[in-house]
């Protein structure tokens, strides 16, 4: 890593190593090879080590410089150690968010829209004025299952006034339960 062209290059490499899943480390190493390491084997080792290091810090939730510095072996180059620690600390909260966002989960709500229509007639009644709500939910499948771009599907649901009232009752209860938990 000492051969790296610039601090920026090291920073970039750390970010890439954290973000890529183990399977993609191979290609990453090949790309890193010319600039950073002497040989393909060294590049692979480097990339793998950086990946493990960054992931470990995020996993354990380490936040202080001392904790991170302790991870390095004793004879590690001082300046490089400081640089790496600095880079890791800068990125730690972004990395944490990234880890949380890519957690396994049920399909996630990404957007919602609604409109209110008035039904004016049907095959059984010639004239009426019944308001009804159409709710469209955009749902994204579990990101971890879709390697490249997660599928977002739109589901349109119709609610009568009675259904909406019942739903609001339920949502109100959720809100009350959440405040009870928050106040404990």
């Amino acid at each position: 890593l000492r051969q790296a062209p610039s601090k920026e290059a090291v920073r970039q490499l750390c970010q890439e190593c954290f973000s890529s899943p183990p399977a993609h480390l191979g290609p990453l190493a090949q790309r890193a090879c010319p600039g950073i390491a002497a040989s393909p084997e060294e590049a692979a080792q480097l990339v793998s080590a950086l990946h493990r290091l960054t992931r470990h810090v995020v996993y354990r939730g380490l936040t202080s410089p001392e904790d991170i510095l302790d991870l390095f072996p004793e004879d590690f180059h001082q300046n490089l150690k400081n640089l790496l620690t600095k880079i890791i600390l800068e990125n730690i909260s972004a990395w944490r968010n990234e880890a949380q966002a890519s957690q396994i989960s049920l399909p996630r709500l990404v957007d919602m829209d609604w409109r209110v229509d008035i039904k004016t007639s049907s095959d059984t009644i010639n004239r009426m004025a019944v308001p009804t709500c159409l709710l469209q939910l955009k749902i994204q499948e579990d990101a971890a299952l879709c390697t490249n771009s997660p599928v977002v599907s739109a589901l349109t649901v119709e609610l009568s006034k009675e259904t909406l009232d019942t739903m609001l009752e339920g949502l109100g209860r959720i809100r009350d339960q959440l405040s009870a938990v928050a106040n404990k």
């Binding site: 949380q100 009644i125 649901v157 119709e158």
Partner: protein
């Protein structure tokens, strides 16, 4: 052709069926009991009932008043007394019948039920300690004639925003009722 008392009994049977259209078996049983008790044959009775049923259905469709229903029956050849009786029954039952008809109106992907749970993510394969709250909703939706379950996860901010939007919908629906 049918004496008054029996006519009112028949009317009662008819309206009970109209307000509970799913009880077909019960309706048919009551009709055949009526036929036996009054010594009328079931076939002709069924035909008469079919024509009589056309009146409330048409009345519902055209939002007729009870006066108009009475006039329709008299035009069909019913006595004034019987027509008035039927029109009265119509007046009493029409709110229920209207509500039923509206309830039967086509709905697209109707939301039938909603269940929820929320919890805390304690840890994951990437983060040893997490402590984030998630809300999981299960929506039961009627697609055509089948039920489908849809599972969604929301973050807390999303939940509050969803609640806020639904309250806006309620205000909007109420202003149109």
């Amino acid at each position: 052709r049918v004496p008054s008392q029996q006519f009112s009994a028949l009317t009662e049977v008819l309206f009970r069926f109209l307000t509970e259209p799913k009880e077909v078996e019960r309706f048919l049983t009551q009709l055949s009991d009526f036929a036996t008790m009054n010594k009328i044959s079931l076939g002709p009775l069924k035909n008469i009932v079919k024509s009589i049923l056309l009146v409330p259905n048409g009345a519902l469709k055209r939002n007729l008043s009870s006066e108009q229903v009475r006039a329709d029956f008299i035009a069909l050849g019913l006595s004034e007394e019987k027509a008035s009786y039927f029109a009265e029954q119509w007046k009493v039952n029409s709110p229920t019948l209207t509500r039923l008809a509206v309830g039967q109106t086509l709905m697209i992907n109707q939301l039938i039920d909603m269940e929820w749970r929320f919890g805390v993510t304690a840890g994951s394969s990437e983060l040893e300690k997490v402590g984030s709250i998630f809300l999981q909703l299960k929506l039961v939706i009627k697609k055509g004639s089948q039920m489908e379950n849809v599972y969604i996860e929301l973050t807390l901010p999303q939940f509050y925003s969803f609640l806020h939007e639904m309250e806006r919908v309620k205000t909007s629906l109420e202003s149109f009722s």
